[in-house]
């Protein structure tokens, strides 16, 4: 809903770019740099024309077209994502391409969030949102390897999920360690909801500890597959997501939903660990049995 309300980072980027092109921004900056600061970086002719290349009204019209396409793309992506939940779809190998495209779309959203800037740590959006886009990569691989060895399939997918969880936890851990302002408000809000007042100093100390914990978890899962660790990550990821509506009320629900993968992927890894162990011990699990267990 948030993407429909505000537009995605991709839509914002292209809207902004077209506006800069409309007002001839690049040439205007280069010209003023040359005249005022003697910059030799960009050579601009004295005769350069710096007028707007289109009217503001034309600019609004183009922006509205970009926003319409942005919303349509988001809608198609959302519908595709939900369609792929249907078991029949999951058996269509060619549909792995749809998941790959979804993953690409989500990576682009994270990339453009970083390029647009204006938000703390937005440059870390790609690893921070790894659970979102790598979940799609995992599903694409899952379908693509439909006819291959089941053991290999499980192994590949679980590795993708482990890397996704690791990247997201490590990035969030770093942001927490650095005292991300939004995380501070989440902590204040969470404690307030149980009528406990905490000082700013305590918040910073807690965030340092949370940061160390998250980074440690991110590293641990790269080397060992402990069910308890995944369960803890799922609980923690779920709590962190739920802290949004707890701290900010109704407006935080969308944020919590967006972070569902931070709970879902560790939870999936928790169950996959059992499946992997089963598979290793029996080595006769059929594809349909595995799917049924999941």
């Amino acid at each position: 809903m948030n993407y429909f309300h505000e537009g995605t980072a991709i839509g914002k980027y292209f809207s902004h770019q077209q506006e800069l092109e409309r007002v001839n921004e690049e040439k205007a900056i280069a010209y003023s740099d040359m005249v005022l600061y003697g910059d030799e970086k960009v050579e601009v002719s004295e005769e350069v024309v710096l007028e707007e290349v289109a009217s503001a009204e034309d600019g609004y019209a183009v922006t509205e077209r970009i926003q319409t396409w942005d919303k349509r793309t988001t809608l198609i992506a959302a519908i595709t994502a939900w369609l792929l939940v249907v078991p029949w779809c999951q058996r269509q190998k060619w549909l792995s391409l749809a998941y790959a495209l979804l993953a690409f779309y989500l990576v682009m959203m994270a990339l453009f969030k970083g390029i647009n800037g204006g938000a703390k740590y937005s440059e870390l959006a790609i690893p921070a949102q790894a659970t979102r886009w790598m979940a799609c990569v995992a599903l694409a691989v899952w379908i693509l390897m439909h006819s291959g060895s089941k053991g290999k399939r499980l192994e590949s997918v679980s590795w993708i999920l482990v890397i996704a969880a690791s990247l997201t936890f490590a990035t969030h851990g770093y942001e927490a360690f650095m005292g991300h302002p939004a995380f501070r408000d989440l902590l204040y809000g969470a404690f307030e909801s149980i009528s406990v007042e905490i000082s700013e100093h305590t918040v910073f100390v807690l965030l340092k500890l949370i940061g160390i914990m998250d980074i440690s978890l991110a590293l641990i899962i790269l080397f060992t597959r402990e069910k308890g660790v995944f369960l803890w990550m799922a609980i923690w990821g779920g709590l962190a997501a739920l802290s949004r509506p707890i701290a900010f009320g109704d407006v935080g629900f969308e944020d919590a939903l967006l972070r569902i993968a931070n709970f879902g992927i560790p939870m999936l890894l928790f169950f996959l660990t059992d499946l992997m162990n089963d598979f290793k011990t029996t080595n006769v699990t059929t594809y349909d049995e595995t799917t049924a267990k999941i």
């Binding site: 948030n2 309300h5 505000e6 809207s15 902004h16 506006e19 800069l20 409309r22 007002v23 001839n24 921004e25 205007a28 900056i29 010209y31 003023s32 740099d33 005249v35 005022l36 600061y37 003697g38 910059d39 030799e40 970086k41 350069v48 710096l50 007028e51 707007e52 503001a56 600019g59 609004y60 922006t63 509205e64 800037g117 204006g118 938000a119 703390k120 005292g179 302002p181 939004a182 501070r184 408000d185 204040y188 809000g189 307030e192 000082s199 700013e200 918040v203 701290a247 900010f248 009320g249 407006v251």
Partner: protein, 417 residues
Amino acid sequence: MGAAFALGASALSATDRSDEQIANADFKQLVEEMTPLAGTNPAHWRVVWSGDTSTSATISWSTAEYGKKHVVHYGTKNMGTDTGKYEFHAEAPKNGPYSISEKEAKDTKAAFFHHCPLTGLTPGTNYYFVLESDGKFSKPLYFKTAPKSGDFKLLTGGDSRSGIASRCLMNLRMAKELSEKPEILALVHGGDYIVSGRSWRQWRSWLSNHELTTLSDGRVLPVIPTRGNHDGGPLFFEIFNLEKNSADLSFWHSIKVTDDVNIVTLDTNYSAKGAQEEWLEKQLSKLRPKSRWLLTNYHRPLYPAVKSPAGQTSVFVPLFEKYNVDLSLESDGHCIKRTVPIRDGKEDPTGIVYVGEGGLGVGQRTPKSDLWYLKGGYAGRGHHVMQLSFSKDALEVETIMLEGNTIDKVTLKPRAD
């Protein structure tokens, strides 16, 4: 004394331009009117207001070379270029290099800031000054301190981060307003001066463009700064000579404009709860009883016209309502907005009006005019600045477009008399 004046070319100032000429001014010509940053020529002059604006101000400028001696010659009498005749000669105590990122350092020349905080000034008085850096002088300039009491006007607006040609035109518009209404004291800038707060290349352009707000007689429009979400990094503090509130480069401050008008400026990049919330409550409880007009100002809107509400909404709004803030200034949305008075999440005549969203040059967006708090208020788009006219009986908020026309006007009455 007083030779070797390095004047920024003053071809055709805003004072001399018609509304139409302002809206259609040629960017190349405007660039020619700005002071080139070379040697120790004083450029990028600005007057920064924080704290008590009737008795203090910081005069700042930039040079391309570090230089050795940086002085503000100032006084209450206009001595023109005769710097020796000014009453006071204050050496700038704060000088240093602007932070340039490694990426920019390769092809962007260094520059240096010079800050000279002045205190003990007389309220409601013109202060004339000339900047000197190693024998190079600025043109004669002046600003007016806020009066202790009485009627006055402020300009307010935000988001000058891109569209530098439009930013220049809006600077001319503000200068035109200043020339026609001398009771305007300063500009409350709502933040997002530039796209990337860590880019000196972008800041220097903003600073050069800001010179266009200076009138042909040398009157400077002081700036009351606010930190926007694009103003991260140390340059914001180096440019406005401000002290950060925490290790996190946050910035909130209180501005006493006159004895009964106060503005509390917040930082929507910082956590709302904790230190900022405590400070805000302290300020509002202290200032409300003595303020006829109490305003809050910050970058990200709490009642937005384009985006979703700032994360600080659930903390700031209850405090604003508890202390009956009169008007809230917002930026960030890139549109024009005036809400109906709001209290407890609904329209209420005793509530707070939220205005702004930023139009000092940045490309405009289309506001969601069907939001309940905009029906009965105003929502639109276009480059604009807002004018706040303070008097004993009314606070008038006018939205003035680049072309000089007023498209929205509302009058607020004081809460208590």
